[in-house]
């Protein structure tokens, strides 16, 4: 057995032992850091936002690196929002200030206005449920970028979907259609909304146009989710009528869609837009399959 | 006891971008230095003299081989309290005065405060620095810096002193001072190991020398023995010899140098001196001097070094 002192006195072993010790210390940093992070919560750096001077002051302080800083803040917005969604939280109070700072730092960061407005306007738990804040954000974006027509599109959207203010929505779409580079359908949209704001068909038209024209993958997906929800609501309404019809003519009352298929009321088992079959509950109500990816809450 | 002993001390440097080429700065140096002697490490620039000293003080690490200082392994830190090192063209902390610098050096040896003050004071006196004891070192001339360097080397009263090119860049006065210090150290039975490329200094000071060239030991030995080696010639200086006398003397002369009226002849063999003197006397040529010419260190050096090139 080599004694410890002999082991340590040999220079090479001593050095190896030192390196090993250093490595252990390094690994020891991890739990310390984690415990600090845990206590502070991941909001720590972000809560500072409430205390920061205005974004414009920060812009001056950033000494030419405001673009980089804007990107950093945008990443923090995404992290913050994502973290809240994962935790099923309904408290998004820092979202507004964070977006304010981000867009102050870089008024041309379109993604901050567009996604920011979606995060803000969507109802909890999907978003902050603050459509008016979303509008304020978009307006500031329009002031900084008057010719970017898509921001008008987003404004129109918030009015249409979240505030159900159809005249204002129509005006927004109209204003957007006058901007250079605006798509043709904006004018058609303006007209349709003005005429038949509350109709489901208008909504379907709106969302399908967005999905078709969206330059951005995320926005397209968002539109498609809305479309699927509309489609599913439509399907469920029609299926309910069909079941009522069946029950009025047949005994016993329908327990599953198989009965309707067998009786010729349906050609095949009905599926929702995501491909999952609808469920006829024991209480006679039509529901979405639990494994369906359609989100009906979008229609509220 | 041997003061210094190196055993196959070798240093390789890896050069080039990919560290592929190997340059051998010191090749299996094996030296022995006796206690109490003044040992000179000679060699042209780049021979490996500074490399040797730095290896001994572990400022660079040997690729292979080992060494012993005062009987202990050279990586034994305790031995450092009994030795001293003065690097070539030394640099010290600019803003300190000699007094402050010496007390700091002394404190690194762990000397108590009173002792530090006493020794710094003594050395400042001994090396003629009293007038500038409170002047910051950055205002010192080269010669004075060298004196401070020697002072800091002696602060711990070492038994063995290593000096790397101690005379480099000094004026004749400075060089004499350094020579005196070395001689005084020898008087006190200290060992001095110094490297130089100035042969006359080695001649006057060293008991033994070693010659390094291209990192290899070319020769080593007692100075007297080296200087007595080989044939010693005799030099004859004549004034205004006639052509006939010259013709007679020519067969015996290994070299002839004319400077105006004077002719210097070197007679190759001792046995021939009598004959040539007879010729001179007979012709009544004026004889200025007759001197034995000792083989110089330069000859030895050039022979050792020249043999390699």
């Amino acid at each position: 057995m080599i004694s410890l002192s002999a082991f340590l006195s040999h220079p090479r072993f001593r050095r190896r032992a030192c390196w090993l010790l250093l490595l252990l210390c390094f690994l020891g940093l991890v739990p310390v850091q984690r415990s600090i992070d845990l206590r502070r919560g991941s909001d720590r750096t972000i809560t500072e936002v409430l205390f920061l001077p205005s974004g414009r002051v920060l812009r001056k302080l950033s000494l030419g690196y405001e673009g980089l800083l804007a990107d950093i803040y945008w990443t923090r917005v995404v992290q913050y929002f994502g973290g809240k969604r994962v935790a099923h939280s309904t408290d998004f109070k820092l979202l507004g200030p964070l977006l304010q700072i981000t867009t102050d730092l870089d008024p041309q960061l379109m993604i901050a206005y567009r996604f920011g407005s979606i995060f803000l306007a969507d109802k909890p738990p999907r978003g902050a449920g603050e459509p008016l804040e979303a509008l304020a954000l978009l307006r500031r974006g329009i002031v900084a970028n008057p010719d970017y027509w898509r921001l008008w599109e987003d404004v129109g959207f918030v009015y249409y979907w979240d505030l159900r203010d159809y005249p204002a929505a129509a005006r927004a779409f109209q204003a957007g259609s006058e901007r250079p580079g605006a798509m043709e359908w904006m004018r058609a949209l303006a007209a349709k909304v003005a005429a038949e704001g509350g109709e489901l068909t208008t909504s379907r038209f709106l969302w399908s146009e967005i999905a078709r024209q969206a330059g951005n993958e995320q926005i397209r997906k968002n539109a498609e989710e809305h479309l699927m929800a509309i489609q599913a609501a439509d399907d469920i309404a029609k299926l309910r009528e069909l079941i009522a019809l069946y029950n009025s003519r047949q005994e016993p009352p329908a327990r599953s869609f198989q009965a309707l298929v067998a009786a010729g009321y349906l050609r095949a088992l009905p599926r929702d837009p995501s491909g999952k079959p609808y469920v006829l509950g024991a209480d006679g109500h039509v529901r979405l399959n639990p494994r369906s990816s359609v989100d009906l809450s979008l229609l509220q | 006891m041997l003061a210094v002993e190196t055993i196959e001390l070798t240093k390789d440097y890896r050069l080039g971008f990919w560290r592929g080429r190997v340059k051998r700065a010191l090749d299996r140096l094996s030296l022995r230095v006796e206690g109490g002697e003044v040992f000179g490490l000679l060699g042209p620039n780049g021979a490996g003299k500074t490399t040797t000293l730095k290896l001994l003080f572990r400022l660079i690490f040997a690729t292979s081989g080992t060494a012993r200082i005062l009987g202990k392994q050279f990586d034994d830190l305790a031995v450092r309290s009994r030795v001293a090192y003065l690097p070539e063209n030394p640099a010290f902390y600019d803003h300190l005065t000699p007094q402050e610098f010496l007390t700091y050096s002394a404190s690194l040896f762990g000397l108590p405060a009173a002792e530090r003050r006493r020794r710094s004071g003594e050395l400042i006196e001994k090396l003629g620095l009293s007038d500038s004891r409170n002047v910051p070192l950055r205002k010192f001339s080269k010669g004075m810096i060298q004196r401070v360097g020697i002072a800091q080397a002696l602060i711990n009263d070492p038994d063995l002193v290593f000096l790397d090119e101690p005379m480099s860049g000094l004026d004749p006065l400075g060089r004499r001072e350094v020579r005196e210090v070395i001689l005084r150290l020898k008087e006190h039975q200290k060992t001095v190991f110094f490297s130089t490329h100035i042969l006359s200094d080695a001649e006057t000071l060293c008991d033994r020398v070693a010659v390094l060239h291209h990192g290899r030991l070319q020769g080593c030995g007692e100075l007297n023995a080296i200087l007595r080696l080989g044939v010693s010639t005799t030099e004859l200086v004549l004034e205004g010899p006639s052509a006939e006398v010259m013709a007679e003397l020519m067969p015996y002369a290994s070299s002839v140098i004319r400077t105006g009226e004077r002719v210097r002849l070197e007679i190759a063999h001792e046995s021939q001196v009598e004959v040539t003197l007879e010729i001179v006397m007979r012709s009544k040529t004026k004889l200025i001097s007759v001197n034995p010419v000792k083989r110089s260190l330069e000859d030895y050096f050039l022979q050792q070094v020249g043999a390699v090139d």
């Binding site: 030192c18 850091q33 206590r39 | 450092r80 690097p87």
Partner: protein, 257 residues
Amino acid sequence: MRVVTIAVHTFKESVRQKVLYNLVAFALLLIGASILFGSISVGVEQIILVTLGLSSISVFGLLIAIFIGIDLVSKEIERRTIYNILSKPVTRAEFILGKYLGLLLTLVVNTAIMMAGFYAALFYQKRALGPGDLVYLGAVYFILLQLAMVVGIALVFSCISTPVLSAIYTFCLYVIGNFSADLRSFGQGSQSPILGLVSNGLYYALPNFANFNVITQVAHAQKIPAYLWVGNSFYALLYLAILLGLAVLIFEEREFP
């Protein structure tokens, strides 16, 4: 102890550097000026004084730490004064530790001077100091911990690189260390799981300076929670041990041809 001797000598040497006086003078000037800035808008004078004052201490402290940090080893090697020390019975570890302690002392003294200036300005503004003002000591303590780490980083770079490069690397690492959480977000946001893993590893490996930043909290009269005192002190201690160990291990292998 030789370490203490070297430390004291290093302290005396770095204190004579003119650059230090200039930096401290600027810091005090800025702290004084923040009183003026505060008087421009009503109600926020103290917030502005505290924010600007503590930020000045942080920024100038950083500059001082970098300036004196690079002197640690690079200068000694460049000026060749190192031969005299290493040929004495002094181990390389003692040399490094002594140097670090000396510079740490310099840093502490300079920070104390700036802090005194800060409290003087605060007194001038408020006409009286109360126990609530002790919380700023906490902020300065955290700043000191950060700076101790910065000097440590400068020390490590100083052992392997030239003075100018060491300063640059140290500064870069300081900036990165402040954004390490964002770095991790960038990495985790990307699609590649490898990048996510790497950025996570980097988050823990890089010095996390954001932990120590309590200036805005303190300016808005919030208390510093207890776990942060303990956590930060422990973190700094651990990280310093690593840095110093690294510096010693590197320096022991270094040659001076």
